[in-house]
């Protein structure tokens, strides 16, 4: 399925945005509108939590599945590349796994446009949760995700972070 998206990304974005639901790119932009995110794993898990715990009623299925660090979505990985190519986000590299993701000015405008369609309580919840998710290091967010969503931790390479 991810091959289809990679082959005709524009068509995918168009079709998904027309159903009124948020897609992976939208959620990434909304997340980054509340501040930068550092680390690939942190980005995957914050989008997962944004999708599952704040924006579930507003999002399409992001196709998360269990992977070596818990829930993983190729759509998120592909969307990050797409957003960078579109000049909506910047990715600053600082060594292995230390990408910092942040919005460009154009990205801020786009995020604001998407945000306008959401109720204030959802926007505030996302803002508050982003601060809380950031306070974790990568192991911290994995501990939380593995405990609350153990069905996504079945293939983990770090089983010591599982709760039970």
């Amino acid at each position: 399925m991810s091959v289809e998206f990679l082959l005709d990304w524009d068509k995918y974005v168009k079709s998904k945005s027309s159903n009124g639901k948020l897609n992976a790119s939208d959620i990434i932009l909304l997340l980054l509108a509340n501040g930068k995110t550092t680390g690939k794993t942190m980005m995957q898990k914050q989008v997962f939590l944004a999708y599952r715990e704040v924006l579930k009623d507003y999002s399409e299925d992001l196709l998360y599945h269990p992977d070596k660090y818990g829930p993983f979505s190729s759509l998120v990985g592909d969307s990050l590349k797409y957003l960078r190519n579109q000049g909506l986000i910047k990715i600053i590299n600082r060594g292995e796994g230390h990408q910092t993701y942040l919005l460009t000015e154009e990205g801020k405008r786009k995020a604001e446009e998407i945000s306008r369609k959401l109720p204030d309580e959802i926007k505030n919840a996302l803002k508050n949760q982003k601060i809380s998710w950031d306070e974790w290091d990568t192991k911290g967010i994995l501990r939380y995700v593995y405990r609350k969503y153990p069905e996504y931790a079945t293939k983990t390479k770090v089983p010591e972070l599982k709760w039970d």
Binding site: N34, S132, E135, K139, G140, I141, R143, Y144
Partner: protein
Amino acid sequence: MGLDVIPHERDVNNISRLEIKYGRGAFETPNRFVNKHDLNSKSGLGVNVTLTKMRNLFINEYRINLETLQSIQNTNDYLANVIARLEDEFNRVDNSNALKALYFSPNKNVIKKITGGSNIRKNVTDFIIDIIENLSTEIDLYLFRVELLSHITLNHFGSDRMTGLLDFLRQNDLIFSPVIPIKNDLAVTNYTESYMKESSLVPFLSYTYSSYPYARNSYRFIMNRLDKIHEKNKAIITLDAPRVASWGADVSRIHYSNFVISDITAESFRIVFDEKGKGNTPAMRFRLFDKDNLSLPELNNIKKRPEEYWSDVSSEINENKIEQLFFRIINRSPNAEDIKNNRPVYMSRIYENIVSTKEYSKMRDSIRTSDLIGYRKSKKEMNSLLEKEQL
């Protein structure tokens, strides 16, 4: 970007409610910093409680010991490593509106070397300037031991000449606070007077922690000036406070400091080792914050039913598995995974963060309504210690 200290109500012993305003937000005192111990405990449990939203202030401590000093002087890429580490740590609060403070904290041995030789002082202060210039995180407040800011030794005042660091801070309009060793009453007297005259670049006077009997003269001197310090729009920070004293009453030394002179208190960032050099076992180190006494008794000394303790955090920690962990610990039956993963220690600290924050709010309310003494008397163990020390 400024930092304003606005005094409001004043109560017994001149303890005041202050409002601290800065670029991104504001908070009130008395209060305590969130530190790395707290964030690490949050990560260690993976618990979803927003610490820097509960208390809008965070402090990070860069400790300089003899080994660090060696690296500063001899290791080429040490600066890059320190900056990367500090940025990783500040990244965790970067999107929060909390005030961000960075404390450069040399230990006793390094201070001895700094005051003994100007070359070493220059090595260290140049290194600090390099850190400040290269950090991409926006820091609201820097804290430095006075020995790093001034060429004079603590006991010889007079022909002072500022160091490159002090010069750098002033030239760049960086907000900073001198950290004065409380046990040295001569230093307290001179530096307090001197920094009280400083501009708005110095909104806080900071002192290291001591219990009152061990720094009585210093404390009396500051207490006598507390109203003047506040009226000059300056507040007092106490640094390096232990969570509890190594002997005597189990009262929270963070809360204790706020009943003496402190507007804001920061716990010392240290890892406690037992006599064999190993950390105490997690079960042994579990202490439960007791709001009725502002104390941190060990499990054997807690007085209420476990349910009564849990009800103080149940609305903030809304997760069954964390609740089950709490009861396993408090009923002295943590499982092997709990012990292996240090969960009792993390739980203790997260519990304290939530309940202690609520107590600070009540303390501020009592100052607002001129009933600090009533609040204090309701905290039996704390009050008893303060009375014993004639405070």
